[in-house]
């Protein structure tokens, strides 16, 4: 069973009301030396498998900190971070590195591709770290993301949208339990940003659990059915959005004077 089928199985077995918990943050604080930017202040939240959750809030509110803690890239000052069955606080550095490698795919605003490697080689880095080199799978991912023709090109010759898609393929190569994306459209033009978000939406429809930090409420609400608002290191709102079929006139009305004189 590959990762994708596994996700489908998890999703199919869960259903809308029977989703199982994947992430649990309990009373998490994060204190930074020399300033409060990005600090967390007693944040608690759970995220279920198969959810596409957007995290929104002002700069410095703690959104990225939250993502980094879930990714095991950083440790909380106090509180618990549990992903799946793993309490990240109980892992040492090597354990955290293994956890990240096996369970987390991370997409950043600025891609962070290695310039002296081709697109395909960049995608394969996490697989190599796992000792599981799968060029076939990498090519398949590039194909799914619509960029198979650039497999042998170097990042410098590619557009921002193409580079971000390579970064997404790299994040997916080890079939992560969780895909984390921190402003993945922040460095892209509108069109490329929409394409990248469309890809994330497709991955979610295929069962991928996604946590997305973004400033773009338009794009977030298009794909994510849940929006967490973070302010001053706390979650101040947890909006679960509905997706009913609505008549155009129930959503938008063009106004005019009732009748001309």
């Amino acid at each position: 069973m590959d990762g994708r089928t596994l996700f489908r199985a998890i999703r199919g077995g869960g259903g809308q009301n029977g989703l199982s918990e994947l992430i649990r943050l309990t009373d998490v604080t994060k204190v930074y030396q020399g300033g409060i930017t990005g600090a967390l202040n007693g944040l608690s939240v759970t995220v279920e498998k198969g959810e596409f959750t957007a995290i929104m809030g002002p700069s410095g509110s703690g959104k990225s900190t939250m993502l980094n803690l879930v990714a095991g890239l950083d440790r909380p000052t106090s509180g618990n971070v549990v992903v799946g069955d793993t309490d990240l606080g109980k892992l040492g550095e090597a354990g955290l590195a293994r956890f990240r490698r096996d369970h987390i795919g991370f997409v950043f605003q600025f891609f962070y591709l290695l310039p002296n490697l081709t697109a395909l080689e960049n995608v394969l880095i996490p697989a190599q770290l796992k000792g599981n080199i799968v060029p076939g799978r990498a090519r398949e991912l590039l194909d799914q993301l619509g960029i198979k023709e650039i497999a042998d090109k170097y990042p410098a010759r590619l557009s921002g949208g193409q580079q971000q898609r390579i970064a997404i393929a790299r994040a997916l190569i080890n079939n992560p339990t969780l895909l984390l994306a921190d402003e993945p459209t922040g460095a892209l033009d509108t069109h490329a940003g929409e394409q990248v978000m469309e890809l994330l939406g497709q991955l979610h429809r295929d069962g991928q659990t996604i946590l997305l930090v973004t400033h773009d409420a338009k794009l977030a609400t298009r794909h994510a059915a849940r929006v967490l608002s973070v302010m001053d290191g706390k979650i101040v709102d947890d909006a679960r959005l509905e997706s009913p079929e609505r008549a155009p006139s129930d959503v938008i009305r063009v106004r005019g004077e009732e009748a001309s004189r």
């Binding site: 002002p58 409420a217 338009k218 609400t221 298009r222 059915a225 929006v227 608002s229 302010m231 101040v236 709102d237 909006a239 959005l241 509905e242 997706s243 609505r246 008549a247 155009p248 006139s249 129930d250 959503v251 938008i252 009305r253 063009v254 106004r255 005019g256 004077e257 009732e258 009748a259 001309s260 004189r261």
Partner: protein, 177 residues
């Protein structure tokens, strides 16, 4: 006033009777503006009175009367199309009046009110996104553009709520009397 000019614009394409004007107008607006047939007839009568449209032939079956654009109507339409939208911004911001009143009455923390409104705007963004997707699937690029405008307006509303939240609207000392 754009119903009047909408009717003139449709009659520029070809002569139409009242029901055809209604159907084409609503279809053009993608169901975002429903007009009743009475409004259409009133508009046509006023346009005829002002010499901007003319009846074509005699009344057909069930008394249907077709109208066509007159040269004066053509001029009025051209002038209207050439004018930018101007005048005061039309706001329909119940929420702002609610906040003002709540500040006076509750004299306290308005964060819950702002949060509820923000959530409503998020839901509206999602509904608009779905409408835009549907419009594009149906090949209604014109409607998708309209929805795009509504998305941007709603995004601005959301940012406004965020600004009010971050300045702790209502919790600060207020200078209103």
């Amino acid at each position: 006033m754009s119903l009047k000019y909408g009717v003139l614009g449709l009659l520029k394409e070809e002569p139409l009777h009242g029901y055809e004007v209604k159907n084409r107008f609503e279809s053009m607006l993608g169901g975002t503006w429903e007009v009743n047939i009475g409004q259409i007839y009133t508009t046509l009568q006023r346009l005829e009175r002002d010499g901007l449209v003319r009846p074509v032939g005699s009344r057909g079956d069930r008394g249907k009367q077709q109208y066509k654009l007159s040269p004066e109507g053509q001029t009025a339409l051209d002038q209207w199309l050439a004018q930018p939208d101007s005048g005061p911004q039309q706001l329909h911001e119940d929420i702002y009046v609610k906040l003002l009143l709540a500040t006076r009455i509750a004299n306290g923390d308005l964060q819950p009110m702002l949060a509820r409104q923000k959530r409503a705007y998020l839901q509206r963004l999602r509904d608009l996104n779905r409408l835009e997707e549907k419009a594009r699937r149906d090949g209604r690029i014109d409607l998708a553009r309209l929805v795009r405008g509504a998305l941007l307006h709603t995004e601005a509303d959301l940012k406004w709520m965020d600004e009010l939240s971050s300045e702790r609207f209502g919790a600060v000392e207020d200078k209103t009397v």
